[in-house]
């Protein structure tokens, strides 16, 4: 605040004004809400028939744009790997006294944990029917692990288990995409399974399978991240 009148301050103010003017000009030009792109209305009109998924968001995320989702999952994997690499550098065993949680908190955690896991699994298994999916379900499962650490600070989950689950989830995604070639499709991640009846659990071909793989992977990733951070802060 004090060097606002110095040359640097003035330059910064001018830059801020330019950025503000540019942003406001750009945003007023964008017609938000009007169906300007052809592809968006195409997905809304034909998504259900072409992929068999009742949830149009899922038909885009794991159907039309499955390759982008694979990239997204890879980004998340790299972030988790980077975090564990950073935290692994400092591996001193400091024994700090961990406070016991109160009885209400630990009992509540024990009672809620299985139900939150169940909700997460429900979200990614029914991703093609109702709102939700692999990322949401995985995040819910991650928050269940967080709850365990709140209630039982001494409790550890096995990071080997989360790492194996994560790798298997990623592998399942890629292998599902490659099976399409073996069956005779010409592009990666093609929907080779029968589409089934709309709104039924076994519908939409490989879309729910992809979402289950993503859900397990994301849940294991978040669990692993939380475990490594808790391990580091003890």
């Amino acid at each position: 605040m004090k060097d606002l009148r110095s040359p640097r301050g003035i330059i910064a103010l001018v830059l801020l004004a330019v950025i503000a003017a540019g942003l406001s000009l750009t945003i007023t030009e964008i017609p938000f809400g009007s169906p300007d792109t052809k592809v968006g209305s195409y997905y809304v009109e034909n998504g259900r028939e072409e992929t068999g998924a009742a949830n149009i968001v899922t038909s885009v995320v794991t159907g039309y744009r499955a390759l982008d989702t694979l990239g997204e999952v890879t980004v998340l994997f790299i972030a988790a790997m980077g975090l564990s690499a950073v935290l692994a550098i400092e591996k001193k065993k400091r024994k700090r006294e961990v406070e016991e949680s109160s009885l209400v908190l630990s009992t509540g955690c024990r009672a809620l944990f299985p139900f939150i896991l169940l909700l997460g699994a429900y979200l990614f298994i029914h991703g093609h029917l109702t709102p939700g999916g692999g990322f949401q379900g995985g995040a819910v499962i991650g928050s269940a692990f967080l709850l365990v650490y709140l209630g039982y600070p001494e409790r550890r989950i096995s990071t080997t288990g989360t790492d194996v689950t994560e790798s298997l989830g990623g592998l399942a995604f890629v292998i599902l995409g490659l099976i399409g070639f073996a069956v005779g499709s010409s592009y990666f991640l093609s929907n080779f399974l029968p589409k089934g009846e709309l709104y039924s659990l076994f519908s939409a071909g490989i879309l729910p399978l992809i979402y289950i793989a993503i859900g397990l992977k994301v849940g294991a990733e978040f669990g692993g991240i939380i475990d490594r951070m808790m391990e580091e802060t003890r």
Binding site: L123, G133, Q136, A139, L150, F222, M229
Partner: protein, 79 residues
């Protein structure tokens, strides 16, 4: 509808100001999770339940948890 959305946005702004002004970092983290909670309500009202779920699980629960872990490692009060 527009009234409900305005109330939610008002609360969101208040919580965001709380994040800025609170010196107790634990309180600031709770205020930031309140911003996410209001964003969740807003996404739901604007008919994006998929995004609302992701915001609820990540913004309200996981980010708050990770910040609390970070505060436990460092200091609770600013300055």
């Amino acid at each position: 509808m527009i009234f409900v959305v305005s109330v939610v946005v008002f609360f969101m702004l208040g919580a965001a100001l709380g994040v800025f002004y609170l010196r107790d970092l634990l309180g600031a983290v709770i205020a930031s999770s309140l911003v996410s909670l209001m964003a969740t309500v807003l996404f739901f009202l604007l008919q994006a339940p998929d995004v609302a779920m992701a915001e609820a699980a990540i913004g309200v629960a996981l980010v708050t948890g990770i910040f609390v872990i970070a505060i436990r490692r460092t200091e609770r009060y600013e300055e």
